[in-house]
Amino acid sequence: MKAFQQNLKQLEAADTQVLGVSMDSPFANKAFADQIGVTFPLLSDWGGDVTRQYGIYVDKYKAARRINFLIGKDGKILEEQIDRDAIDPKKIVDACERRKLSR
């Protein structure tokens, strides 16, 4: 999440809203956001319905996989980053910048 915070200005300049999602409670997520200095919303998928809907619930951990989705203005998925690749958001930042330039 910190990595997204570091790139937040670039992403916002490219018309992109960042939303973190986990199965923690809203209050745990707020405390987490404050601790790491994240200013974008960390959404609480308490119970995991959305995590399951997106097909990324992991039984073994009773939690979501580490995944980034970039969703376009038309609601379609433009990019995906999975597991370890999802820690560095460069691919997503680059994709946003490319789209900004191509407009």
Binding site: M1, F4, L11, A14, D15, T16, Q17, V18, L19, G20, V21, S22, M23, D24, P26, F27, A28, N29, K30, A31, F32, Q35, P41, L42, L43, S44, D45, D49, V50, T51, Q53, Y54, G55, I56, Y61, A63, A64, R65, R66, I67, N68, F69, L70, I71, G72, K73, D74, G75, K76, I77, L78, E79, E80, I82, A86, I87, P89, I92, C96, R99
Partner: protein, 88 residues
């Protein structure tokens, strides 16, 4: 005669090596192929992302956020993470 024998032995050894090596190599490839592949995602690039309504706490209130509120306005990065208070 002795020299002849040595070269025959060498020949046999080389032949055996030539036969065994590709097998060893193939086994290596197979072991690599058996490495666990990352499980593919249910949603792929080009799919419509399912809408949702979720909440976050802004310090005083619970705020509702839906994916559809950004439709036509901005791109959205959905960053699913495993647990709060962990890295990544």
């Amino acid at each position: 005669m002795k020299r002849n024998c040595v070269s025959t032995m060498l020949g046999v050894w080389l032949l055996t090596a030539a036969m065994v090596c590709p097998q060893v190599h193939a086994q290596g490839d197979k072991a690599q192929a058996n490495k666990p592949e990352p499980v593919p995602l249910k949603l792929n690039v080009g799919d419509v992302a399912p809408d949702f309504k979720l909440h976050y706490f802004d310090g005083s209130d619970l705020k509702e956020v839906s994916l559809s509120q950004y439709r036509g306005k901005s791109n959205v990065v959905l960053a699913f993470y495993i647990f709060a208070f962990t890295g990544g």
